[in-house]
């Protein structure tokens, strides 16, 4: 794929992991974009930050483990995911309770705004 076809796509995942298919849908879009060699910003805001919690056992409610795929993101060229610091704070979460095998950068609103400024397209799910 030529450089001219390479775009920066931002995906904002704002849904909790097991209440709907949105978290999985967002992950699928991220992986699809990455497979097609696009630059991907994967941002977690609002209840989406719950996707990044360590020690989830969704099998106990017969749900699929969306988070299990996150460590594979690096293989697709998505080296890092971004998480909204305020969303963590509002939910009493600290970055040390998040997945250890994923590179997670905690971001301010300004940093998220900058990521969006750099992107051609933003998906918000």
């Amino acid at each position: 794929m030529s450089n001219s076809e390479r775009k920066t796509l931002t995906f904002i995942s704002r849904s909790s992991p097991h209440s709907s298919g949105k978290a999985k849908a967002c992950l699928d879009m991220v992986l699809s974009a990455a497979v097609f060699d696009q630059t991907v910003n994967y941002i977690f805001m609002d209840d989406g930050v719950f996707q990044l919690l360590d020690k989830q056992t969704p099998a106990t409610i017969h749900a699929r483990n969306v988070s299990a795929a996150f460590p594979a993101l690096a293989l697709y060229g998505v080296e890092m995911v971004y998480v909204d610091e305020e969303a963590l704070l509002d939910r009493g979460l600290h970055s040390d309770s998040l997945l250890a095998d994923v590179e997670i950068k905690v971001c301010s609103a300004q940093q998220i705004q900058a990521l969006i400024r750099q992107s051609e397209t933003v998906f918000n799910l």
Binding site: I12, R14, M45, D46, D84, E86, A109, I112, Q113, I116, R117, S119, E120, T121, V122, N124
Partner: protein, 105 residues
């Protein structure tokens, strides 16, 4: 046609029932526009939380609301002056005049 790297944010839920308006305002930045559609228009009318949120940012972000959605909900007369009312054709024009659109739903 595109103004320099600006984003149009569309919000379709009221500020009370859902946190999306607050999230949108957190991410919206100088020069952006926020367009309230569907139940999003409640934020400019009856919803005190929504109005306060909008006031905090209205100096550097342009606020629009879709006239049809306000009319349908009986809200057209309660819109503050800083909110610009637009129709569907102007909605289309707004999407064209911004470099991208983020849909908050």
């Amino acid at each position: 046609m595109n103004s320099a790297n600006t984003t149009l944010h569309t919000v379709n839920k009221s500020g009370l029932q859902s946190g999306i308006l607050a999230s949108c305002l957190r991410i919206a930045t100088r020069g952006d526009a926020i367009l309230l559609i569907e139940d999003g228009v409640y934020a400019v009318a009856g919803c005190a939380v929504g109005s306060r949120l909008l006031e905090e940012k209205n100096s550097d972000i342009t606020l629009f609301a879709l006239r049809e959605d306000l009319q349908a909900r009986g809200l057209e007369s309660s819109v503050p002056a800083q909110v610009k009312l637009i129709d569907y054709a102007e909605f289309v024009a707004l999407t064209c005049s911004h470099s991208k659109t983020i849909s908050w739903f």
